[in-house]
């Protein structure tokens, strides 16, 4: 009861805050005559465990802002980024989000990486009608009108990765070892993958599921299990192992005499930025599924990669021009541009107007032209399968013809649910 009343109180105070913000914000926009800069928030961990991944997202968002400002800004107004550090601490994420929305009165926030940090800021954005662009692939099952998800849904990464391995082109694999770190993304991802595999007629005996703690280093037993599982051929590993556990895993895999011919590993959480500063020799030949790789060949991507390296060098960021780009970075980058285009279309930075303008917005992203969904807050993106190379880059071995439509509610685990903010109010029950 005590918790409930506190939450009620919080809601009330937040609503009041939002009201004040609206009152205070309006006249300044009118009187500034296009001279006042537009504030945007950047909410990525710059310290703590997640800093390794999230700092790059801050960098790429700031680069996009610089690009836009160099071309005259948005509607003649410059963008002024407000960067805060939630320090890999999810309570602090909510605090900082509140600060950005109520105190700094930013028009939009670009941020978050882990699902738990997103879940933590979600009520803040919903209660204050803020706008968040979330750039990382995630487990789906969410449909908030205050968030635009520019990363992949399960059907844009998990399922295509498994489908590729099942296809004749991928090697017609029949046995699947689902291996992950023990937290929400791998658990949900494997739930969806299992439902998908069962629906495709893979017998339950051919699916194995296993989890390890965070920063697990001793993969002896698991590799031994995989070896027995893979005997007879036709087996593969679908890995949602997170972060630095990957090096000991792949090393042990190679050292026990297993090769990608025994069982290829399809990784869902290994991208170029994580491979930076890793000894990649044991990873070579294994696979990863993403919506973007730095090795995508297109003039737009060449420009993007070059621009980022130059930006890193110019601003003396650690790593300098050795920095790489990857999927979440691309998603964070085009998120800023999508928002800019939507503001220009809506001729306003007001959240509801911008949201409507984002629907159906397209942008020539480095990977190709991507499109925001017409009503479900997610993004149409192509799916790519890459093979890990010695230099930590990926050789693209398969790519969908066009963009894949995002499905926040997987049809394998929640066939009765849909996400629609035009004809429905968010998540709705589909009619049978």
């Amino acid at each position: 009861m005590a918790v409930y009343s506190r939450r009620e109180f919080l809601k009330g105070s937040l609503a009041a805050g939002a009201g004040l913000a609206a009152l205070g914000g309006l006249p300044s926009i009118i009187t500034a005559q296009g001279k006042e800069p537009i504030k945007i928030g950047v909410l990525h961990s710059l310290s703590g465990t997640m800093a390794i991944s999230e700092v790059s997202l801050r960098d790429v968002v700031l680069m996009a802002v610089e690009e836009i400002n160099a071309k005259g800004g948005v509607m003649g107004r410059k963008i002024q980024p407000v960067v805060v550090d939630p320090a890999s601490n999810w309570d602090l994420f909510a605090e900082k989000a509140k600060q950005l929305l109520l105190q700094d009165k930013v028009a939009v926030v670009f941020g978050c990486w882990t699902s738990v940090s997103r879940k933590s800021v979600l009520p803040v954005f919903e209660n204050n009608n803020g706008l968040l662009f979330y750039p990382v692939q995630y487990e789906g099952e969410e449909c908030s009108k205050n968030v635009f998800y520019t990363g992949a849904c399960p059907n844009q990464q998990l399922i295509p990765g498994a489908e590729y391995l099942m296809s004749k082109e991928g090697g017609s694999y029949k046995k699947f070892y689902l291996l992950g770190t023990d937290y929400v993304f791998p658990r949900t991802a494997n739930k969806i993958l299992r439902a998908f595999l069962l629906a495709k007629g893979v017998p339950a005996a051919n699916i194995e599921e296993e989890y390890t703690p965070f920063s697990h280093q001793d993969y002896q037993t698991i590799v031994g299990k995989i070896k027995r599982f893979a005997s007879g051929g036709g087996a593969c590993v679908l890995s949602t192992i997170n972060g630095d556990s990957n090096v000991p895993f792949y090393k042990e895999f190679a050292n026990q005499g297993l090769r990608s011919e025994n069982a290829p590993i399809m990784a869902y959480s290994v991208a170029e930025d994580e491979l930076r500063g890793m000894d990649t020799s044991a990873l070579v030949g294994h696979l990863a599924a993403w919506n973007y790789f730095q090795s995508v060949e297109s003039p737009a991507n060449t420009k993007f990669v070059k621009a980022f390296k130059e930006y890193a060098k110019k601003n003396n960021l650690p790593g300098g021009d050795k920095r790489v780009t990857d999927d979440p970075m691309e998603a964070a980058y085009f998120g800023v541009h999508i928002w800019k285009q939507a503001v220009e279309k809506a001729k306003s930075v007001e959240v509801d107007a911008v949201r409507k303008a984002v629907y159906g917005q397209t942008f020539a992203a480095p990977v190709g032209t991507i499109k925001m969904h017409e009503y479900n807050q997610h993004t149409y993106r192509p799916v790519l399968i890459g093979e890990i190379l010695k230099d930590g880059q990926f050789k693209i071995i398969s790519r969908t013809k066009g963009n894949v439509e995002p499905e926040p509610w997987s049809k394998y685990t929640s066939p009765d649910k849909g996400c629609d903010w035009i004809n429905h109010q968010g998540t709705y029950q589909k009619k049978a």
Binding site: S47, A51, I52, S167, K168, E169, D182, E210, Y211, T212, P213, S215, H216, Q217, D218, Q220, T221, I222, G224, K225, K227, R228, S231, G232, G233, G234, D244, V247, P248, K251, E252, A254, N255, Q256, G257, R259, S260, E261, N262, R276, G277, M278, D279, S281, A282, E297, P299, P318, S398, K401
Partner: protein, 551 residues
């Protein structure tokens, strides 16, 4: 669709069995190129079958380029020319690309990208290309100079079990000299015969597979044993082979689990040894032990980088140099810590605990400032990569064998030092009665410094060894410190034998229950077991008794 596939398969088989193609350009393939330009999937697939059928390396290279989306058509309609695209660049506003002819790769200059149409390799086309490229790849791999690559090819052929590959495998067996590659090839051959031969051949193949202890043959043998259309002899042979393989599998699993337990125990022992010495002999709870390990790991990283820059041809030797260097670096920092601050706080365990914890934060942040927050990359030397094939189905990784050896040597050296040398005598004397030792002329301060340096150096050594199995980052120490303390406390303070026994017990127990419970619950179970054990015996396995213990 099936018929087309069969045709393709037939072509492929004919091609595998056929004589090697001459290296002159085949006129058929040249003509077939025209089929690629037409936007009709059937015609394109037929064209690929003809081009791939030439087995000409240059044509196969062309198919590879086609799969990668680097093939373009220049011109329109039937007269279009098929070209291969090279490097792209931008000239003014337009994107331009270098092109070359399809077969000879004669450069045709640089043309605007807009003047070409890409021949898109869609899924169907890529599937059609794949068998040709793969068969070629496997063939090259079988002849590779690297035994591991040859073994990979043998594995693949065994899994595919295609009759057409048998002659190539037979030829490879005759030439093969490396034992485990030969084994893999024999296994592949038997698998192929089991899948494709007649009754008598199958019985022989099943017997061979049983004798080879081939776990890869289990599914095929099980199918055969359950196949009612096979003769009773065949099924009996399959059943015998299955029994043989299963018995072998049980043996492999037992040895494997024992080895894994030993490996984990040796890692725990190496980590805890230095802590046990400092804790046991000096009564200092060294919270900075983990960070001293991190210092050892980073020293290894620095030595590696020096070798990479100065003597790249002797890179493999870096680890031999890194071992003493990491010991010395950590020991020096240990001496500075001990002489600088810890000695002022002897006999006040809580204050030293707080102090060493503070020191650990300083070292950690220092490493983070200097080397960056991200993990650094420490490559394994080639002699620590891969593994030793002890028996069929069991490979013992070299890095783990090395750590077991290092831990044994360290323990032996510590025993000798403490119980057989003069230094050890002094250390033990100071531990037992500091005032009396000082009276008899032992320089207690110097002994303290030596002991602490020894413990710190062992931590550095452990850090160096750990670079071969784990990650190196500023927070490395924190990942290991809890486990180290668990071993020392379970073993009983002040007894080396207790530390050794505790490491072996915890390591063995962990690996024994992990296959059944999984990594997460194995860890939980170990912690509960240690808690319960300490409830029964608060002083650990080997309790130090007597006057000294109460002091």
């Amino acid at each position: 669709m099936t018929r087309r596939f069969l045709l393709l398969l037939l072509l492929l088989v004919a091609w595998l069995a056929g004589p090697p193609a001459s290296h002159a350009q085949s006129p058929d393939a040249g003509k077939a190129l025209g089929g690629l330009v037409i936007d009709d999937a059937d015609k394109r697939e037929a064209a690929i079958a003809v081009i791939g059928g030439t087995r000409d390396p240059k044509w196969l290279e062309f198919l590879g380029a086609l799969r990668d989306g680097k093939v373009y058509a220049r011109g329109k309609g039937k007269d279009a020319e098929v070209v291969i695209g090279g490097a792209r660049s931008t000239k003014g506003d337009a994107d331009v690309i270098e092109i070359a002819t399809a077969y000879e790769r004669k450069p045709l200059g640089v043309v605007p990208l807009a003047s070409l149409t890409e021949i898109a390799a869609d899924r169907r086309l890529r599937i059609a290309i794949k068998p040709f490229l793969e068969a070629d790849e496997t063939r090259t791999q079988l002849e590779s100079a690297d035994p591991e690559t040859r073994r990979g090819a043998a594995l693949k052929l065994g899994y595919q079990a295609a009759a057409a590959a048998a002659p190539a495998v037979e030829a490879a067996i005759k030439k093969e000299t490396v034992h485990n590659v030969r084994h893999a090839l024999e296994e592949a051959l038997a698998l192929i015969r089991l899948a494709n031969g007649d009754g008598a051949v199958r019985i022989l193949a099943a017997q061979t597979l049983g004798a080879l202890h081939s776990s890869d043959a289990m599914p095929a043998l099980q199918t055969l044993a359950a196949d009612t259309s096979a003769s009773p002899d065949e099924r009996a042979a399959a059943r015998t082979a299955i029994r043989e393989i299963e018995r072998w599998g049980l043996l492999v699993r037992t040895v494997e689990t024992v080895f894994q337990g030993a490996s984990l125990a040796s890692i725990l022992l190496l980590m805890a040894l230095g802590l046990a010495i400092v804790f046991g002999l000096m009564g200092v709870i060294n919270m900075a032990h983990g960070e001293l390990m991190a210092l050892g790991a980073y020293s290894t990283f620095v030595v590696q980088n020096v070798f990479r820059a100065r003597w790249p041809e002797r890179f493999d030797a870096y680890f031999v140099v890194a071992l003493p260097v990491s010991f010395v670096v950590a020991a020096l920092v240990g001496v500075v810590l001990e002489r600088g601050v810890i000695r002022r706080l002897y006999g006040r365990p809580l204050e030293t605990l707080l102090l060493t914890w503070g020191a650990s934060l300083i070292i950690q942040q220092g490493l983070r400032l200097y080397f960056g927050a991200a993990n650094v990359d420490v490559s394994s030397p080639t002699w620590l990569s891969g593994g030793f094939g002890l028996m069929t189905g069991l490979t013992l990784p070299f890095n783990r064998l090395f750590i077991i050896g290092l831990a044994s040597v360290s323990v032996a050296a510590m025993y000798w030092l403490l119980f057989r040398s003069d230094t050890g005598l002094r250390i033990r004397a100071v531990t037992q009665n500091r005032a009396m030792s000082s009276c008899l002329g032992v320089r207690a301060g110097w002994v303290d410094a030596t002991t602490f340096a020894l413990g710190a150096g062992l931590a550095g050594l452990a850090g160096c060894a750990l670079t071969q199995i784990g990650n190196v980052g500023p927070s490395l120490g924190q990942n290991y410190i809890v486990d180290s303390f668990m071993v020392v406390v379970t073993g009983g303070v002040g007894k080396l034998a207790g530390t050794i026994l505790a490491a072996a017990g915890i390591g063995g127990l962990n690996k024994g229950i992990e296959p059944a419970l999984g990594a997460v619950f194995a860890k939980v179970a170990i912690l509960i077991a240690v808690m319960l054990f300490l409830q029964r015996r608060p002083a650990g396995l080997f309790a130090t008794r007597g006057r000294n213990a109460d002091a």
